[in-house]
Symmetry: C2
Subunit: 351 residues, 2 copies
């Protein structure tokens, strides 16, 4: 069990190391007014904390550095609740004020602003749009062979794809096609679209349209909504600013880590609700031992969640980032709701 003084010393050590990136020594700590003990006393407590695994030394006569266990304890028990700095909250406010109508823009800007405020790297996972329902189909012929298929979803998102039209297909047949699609498939969610097209519309096509087969395969391609790119990055280069990464190899491996999107996705795994902190090797992703990740989720409507991850050194400013992330993910949810459902209406009225 830790004595009160040991708790204090652990807390001060972690804080100091977060600020300075330098191993902290007993004499240094004893100078602080918060720790009115002699260096020897602190030395003894530090030795105990080291025995218990909360602190480490980089070499025999160096100061102490928090271990992962130390950081974890700090985050779980020693974090002092913080209110958002005035400056930060002003910055955030501009983000949501300047915004007009594009939710993707809003998400992208969130990633940028978070990385600017924290000086860490942000990865934002956009909401899964595949749950949205189709509001309208449209087909615009371009020339003899090609046309654009357009799908508008109920949140105002527009998907479009160029596809090949069977030779000799007439304008009236295109009109018929669009009508069939609109009669049969409105309200279908994007994920289900392929399947429903087959179930509900195929036989109708076969009855009413020439060259139904060719058209149908083209349509299927056009309608296949790609599991689209949903990752937004902010401050990819920020890890530079951390002194422990002023090093060629370290930076290189960091970029390799985040450039290949897959591991980036892994960062979001096993998301419980709320804010999660994963320190160093607590991240199950390979080569993440040197980083901490703080994740949060936000909502962009029913059944549509996105996640935000902030990646920094293990020595990251947990208190500040947590506060910031909490505020932002909340504000972002609100803003996205407003964008999706309109300023004054509410989804329930809409139904």
């Amino acid at each position: 069990m830790l004595t009160n003084r040991q708790l204090l010393i652990l807390q001060l050590t972690v804080k100091d190391f977060i600020d300075s990136a330098q191993p902290v020594g007993s004499r240094q700590l004893s100078k602080k007014p918060e720790a009115p003990f002699s260096s020897a006393t602190i030395r003894n407590d530090m030795a105990d904390l080291e025995d218990m695994g909360y602190l480490e030394k980089t070499h025999t006569s160096s100061g102490r550095v928090p271990s992962e266990k130390g950081y974890r304890f700090f985050v779980d028990h020693l974090l002092q609740p913080q209110t958002l700095a005035l400056e930060d909250s002003l910055q955030l406010r501009t983000l949501f004020q300047d915004q007009v109508g594009e939710s993707e823009e809003l998400i992208r800007n969130s990633a940028t602003i978070l990385s600017e405020l924290t000086n860490y790297t942000t990865i934002l996972l956009g909401p899964d749009t595949s749950m949205h329902a189709v509001k309208k189909f449209s087909i615009v012929p371009l020339d003899q062979q090609r046309a654009v298929a357009i799908i508008v979803t109920d949140n105002g998102h527009v998907e479009n794809r160029i596809f090949d039209v069977p030779p000799g297909f007439t304008a009236s047949e295109i009109e018929k096609t669009v009508n069939i699609l609109n009669e049969r498939l409105i309200g279908t969610s994007l994920v289900q679209l392929q399947q429903k097209l087959l179930q509900e519309a195929k036989y109708v096509f076969e009855q009413h349209i020439h060259q139904a087969e060719q058209l149908f395969s083209s349509l299927q391609q056009a309608i296949a909504v790609e599991p689209e790119e949903r990752l937004y990055f902010g401050g990819k280069l920020n890890m530079w600013k951390q002194p422990e990464f002023h090093d060629f190899q370290k930076m290189k491996s960091f970029f390799e880590l985040i450039e290949k999107g897959n591991p980036a996705m892994d960062l979001f795994q096993k998301n419980g609700q709320g804010i999660q902190v994963r320190i160093g090797s607590e991240n199950k992703v390979i080569n993440m031992e040197d980083y901490s990740v703080i994740t949060s989720t936000y909502s962009a409507g029913e059944n549509m969640e996105g996640s935000i991850a902030i990646i920094g050194p293990k020595r990251m400013d947990y208190a500040r980032v947590i506060t910031l992330l909490d505020t932002l993910s909340h504000d972002l949810s609100t803003a996205l709701h407003r964008l999706t459902f309109g300023q004054e209406t509410d989804r329930r009225q809409d139904k």
Copy 2:
């Protein structure tokens, strides 16, 4: 006037420095079979080349390094025409084979592959889409207050924007609006759209539609096609791989340079046709003294040009990059034409 041997020595010096990034000395050069002269002879010629400003020394007893004038002379007179390496041309081929229907995708991939092949940074300026003509307008209401405006252009590009609908606006009025737009503005290029909307459609609206003013201002906003982001990057991090940039400050200033898009645009200035090489301070952009830029243009249809820039150290492999860039910009033009005008038809038939 340069003697033949001096030409040879200049050429070998530049080549060697491009490969090794190390100042090249006389003894080193004399070992090469291409230069069967004694080190003293080479030393004398090098001294002359230095007097004439083609070579420089980093310090009194170092080997020689090409000056900007030296690189310029090398590029203008000593470059040996090269055929594309088999490996490179295979890589390029896959780029154009795998491609399906998206021209933006194709452009993005071009940037990536160029940066992979060269290990330099690529900036690709997409074609200016504002010359395209409107093929069709469409408006899809989302709820009481908002609707999506959709503009399809003749190349199959789809612009869309959410806008506010005046309160109490009915479905039939929206239909009328769309009809007016389609009657009056089809064929207008995107740049002219705002203006024509005012000239040709405003009075029609005022005659036929309730609340024309409110609708009109919403529409104007919705229709304003942003001078959209047309820059695609490849290998932003590649400058790392160049030994002369294994340095915190250098890399930082490089990123600052390319991150703020404006200077990046400047790189493309005063584009003559064909391939252009700008070495070090020949770039009129500030802080570009340490880089060389090779640019090329490609065409994506009538009046629609894009540019490609490859940024590397002054020590870049000019011969290879020029060949590669030449091939790619040509292939890219062809591929884009095919995408835009269809595989077998030609624009002339279309008219």
